[in-house]
Assembly symmetry: C2
């Protein structure tokens, strides 16, 4: 029994799309990662259509059980926030149209979930995503890594909600670590996880 999650880091110039699966052991595995790009000199409406279609193709190809989108705040970078909000609207609509459950997560929720603290920088998020997914390299660009982090964050949060609360609490208490903290601990045991055929 696995849960497949598609994460979207919305943007007009680069829109990150990451697909992961988590098993019942909460171990995430990379399924696919993409960056949808549009040139800045294309009219806004063409850029939005291009990203919407690219996103819908990926959703239809990977058929996720759930989607997670980064929550955009009006206080964010004023120059780009409108385009980012518009892309998030297209992603939300695509999810609703396909009846795929969708959630918004804030950047600090995502950072806290994957690195253990909400103020992690982009490099730390990327490194942690690579470790959690047992990748040889940090996914590039940062938008792609962020989309994977969103998907992992969502899978874990959703997994926690689904688990029997008492059992989940006991398990968490027994380990004394969040999944991210356990992952850090494991990651620190070896700088690079050995991979067969990697």
């Amino acid at each position: 029994m696995t849960l497949r999650v598609l994460g979207v880091d919305p943007g007009l110039t680069r829109c990150g799309v990451g697909v992961i699966e988590v098993s019942t052991t909460r171990v995430p595995t990379l399924v696919s990662v993409h960056t949808l790009r549009t040139p800045a000199d294309l009219p806004l409406e063409r850029r939005l259509l291009s990203i919407a279609r690219g996103l819908e193709e990926l959703i239809d190809e990977f058929r996720p059980d759930a989607m997670a989108i980064e929550r955009v705040f009006a206080q964010n970078n004023v120059r780009t926030v409108m385009g980012t909000a518009q892309v998030s609207g297209l992603a939300l609509r695509a999810a609703a149209e396909r009846e795929i459950p969708v959630a918004l997560h804030t950047p600090s929720e995502v950072k806290a979930a994957v690195t253990g603290y909400g103020n992690a920088d982009k490099a730390q998020v990327g490194q942690m995503v690579a470790r959690l997914l047992r990748l040889d390299e940090v996914p590039k660009p940062a938008d792609a890594a962020d989309a994977l982090a969103l998907a992992i964050c969502h899978a874990w949060r959703r997994g926690s909600v689904r688990a029997a609360p008492a059992a989940a609490a006991a398990a968490s208490s027994a380990a004394g670590l969040t999944p991210a903290q356990r992952a850090w601990r494991d990651a620190e045991k070896s700088v690079r996880t050995p991979r067969l055929g990697g």
Copy 2:
């Protein structure tokens, strides 16, 4: 030869959609006006899907030659600006998908076009829309009137661009008045324009 324009005043709670036609004499005529509404307790993605579908149905029913959407600024009402931006993204995508030319106009451009000054209040815009379209009543809610004002603004601005510049300048100079100013003058001649069968 008429130009049919569909204006969109984007919003999650109320999204105004106004369709007008302008003849070569630049006189605007009401074709249709609608307010798409979604309840605040519906999940965001369902609200966006509902508005997108409503908008697309209206576009496909009225087949406008052009669309005009209110430009949203990050500095606007922070509580609602994200939803407004998301709806504008859906409207822009719908236009691009149908290859309908689309433009964004700022609220002050719209106010200046229909009332003659950019700081007009909602009531003045509504009254002027009613006068320009020879309606017995101001369209309600304000979102509907704003969508019509957007469509009129766009038709006039586009008309100016299309006319031979010298001829347009001469006509404008001969009258000494913008279309809005001429309309005010005409409107003031009689408090209510007589209508047959109204």
